[in-house]
Symmetry: C2
Subunit: 314 residues, 2 copies
């Protein structure tokens, strides 16, 4: 049996066919054009779904269910997107709209939860029953898997781990609160810190890298600078690793997952990031006498959204 | 059927008979005398258990199981106290030792987890499937109930919510890390903050209350001072409520429990504490569009340890 997974993002709609082991068989994507009415967006989702099924010589009867991963607050039971800032959805009955075109069970979940489910089924946390996946991007996405299921609290809004405090009253966070982990350890936070550091002190190799154009700073640049021995780059990365590790320590003290998966472009740094992170986490974690959480880099990359959405129906 | 619950603390061993609804039928306690060998402590536990059963005209066959709640790190599967700082236990096979005297199933869990289970079965979170219980005492104890069961991670060490950061690098915590929630919002933290404030500025009604003896400061005193309009008292309580609320907001953003139970002597302040806490939490929580967690004061008080331990076997 196959599963269809839809990763509905602010920029693209990515859809894929996934087998029952969480393996992606075929995928495609189209632009979301997010300012349209939701009925048009969902019609596009349905059309592309049917196209992918046919292109792979399958029929609807070969598909067990459709899963949709979407940013924002979701009511999984009712199949409604309660609120999504990214795609301007407000109480959108996405399940019933989708079923106007395709008569299959439709599941819907927050996209970060989908990514966590994907890593748990066929990614870096494969084989575990309890895991947490953290995605370091524009914000910090997070999903918690307990007993092989997404944990989402009594109201489907749980595991917003990016919005737990690192430094109460500190840097302003998108959520309106001051000092959330996201405001210090997302990729955006690293980019902002780099821009701020250059404004204060322009004597850095980073200035040459970006040819003076602050807009060219991405999360890789301070890492590159640090590797070249640049003082500002090293300071930025040391601080970033301290913030990232502190939040990961919090996650471990709270959840003690068997595997803690970290994803997002920053994690392409591999051992350069993991080694000092592991050292700091081990040093600061509460419970040192027991078997310890393993921190691993995400395996499924951008496909995690599709795979996790598909696995909602498993 | 009845259940026997044992709350093994650093000062006392409290034991009770509990029915299958989580109602405490009879209890008694003896001093722990914690510096003794564990074999002596467990023998006392067994003797008092048998005494309580007989005193209530029951026999061993009326008891389904024995549960033991113990501070520290527990291996529930193996029935071992891996490490407890409070009672100096180190790899103590408490289940097998107990079964030398009483031939019943023996369950063992961390005491904060037991308190959470008790509040969930017959206390402030009765009727919910997901709840979190926070106890504000010497430290911050916490237990998480998911699907009516204690959540303790893959290694039985989860839900150390007192050891998540409020202000990274801030006040020193007993765990060795700087800035944990416990270092700001435990009863001890409030007492220390009061002592520090008086050292800086002795012009407070608190000085009269304690007759100049800093050792007389308990967590109630700054509340009493604040209620009398004392400037230092009000400042202390405002700050304490800010810290407490920030950590509770973190718990909600992470777990979204249906009920978040808070216990410990500080909670005797009732609405005086709950009202501003609720206001701050609502203001700062991430997800405002969904049904919201209810914050309630613990109901079972000191009996929570016994009741929760007993309910381990249910």
């Amino acid at each position: 049996m196959l599963y269809l997974g839809i990763d509905l993002g602010g920029t693209n709609i990515a859809i894929g066919l996934v087998d029952d082991k969480g393996k992606l068989i075929s995928k495609d994507s189209i632009p979301t054009n997010k300012d349209r009415d939701y009925t048009e967006i969902v019609k596009d989702m349905a059309d592309l779904s049917i196209y992918i099924i046919k292109r792979n010589s399958y029929e609807l009867k070969d598909i067990k269910s459709i899963g949709i991963g979407c940013p924002g607050t979701i009511d999984s039971e009712k199949g409604i997107v309660i609120y999504s800032n990214n795609i301007k959805f407000n109480n959108v009955p996405i399940r019933s709209e989708m079923q106007k075109y395709i008569d299959l069970p439709v599941f819907i979940e927050n996209d970060a939860n989908c990514a966590a489910l994907a890593e748990s089924v066929s990614g870096a946390a494969k084989g575990t029953t309890n895991s947490v996946t953290i995605t370091l991007g524009t914000g910090i996405g997070s999903g918690v898997i307990i007993d092989n299921k997404i944990y989402s609290g009594f109201n489907n809004a749980a595991s917003e781990l990016g919005h737990t405090t690192l430094i109460l009253g500190g840097k302003e966070c998108t959520c309106g609160r001051g000092g959330c982990w996201e405001a210090y350890a997302s990729a955006t936070a690293l980019i902002r810190a780099t821009q701020d550091a250059l404004r204060e002190n322009s004597n850095s190799v980073i200035n040459k890298m970006i040819k003076g154009d602050m807009e060219k700073i991405d999360a890789k640049i301070p890492f590159d600078a640090a590797k070249q021995g640049d003082k500002i780059g090293s300071m930025l990365i040391d601080k970033y690793i301290e913030y990232l590790s502190a939040g990961l320590t919090n996650v471990i003290n709270a959840f003690q997952p068997e595997v803690l998966v970290i994803g997002g472009g920053v994690c392409n740094q591999g051992e350069y990031l993991l080694e000092p992170v592991n050292k700091l986490v081990k040093q600061n974690m509460f419970c040192k006498e027991v078997r310890q959480t393993e921190i691993k880099v995400a395996k499924l990359g951008n496909d995690a959204g599709i795979v996790g959405a598909a696995m909602l129906g498993k």
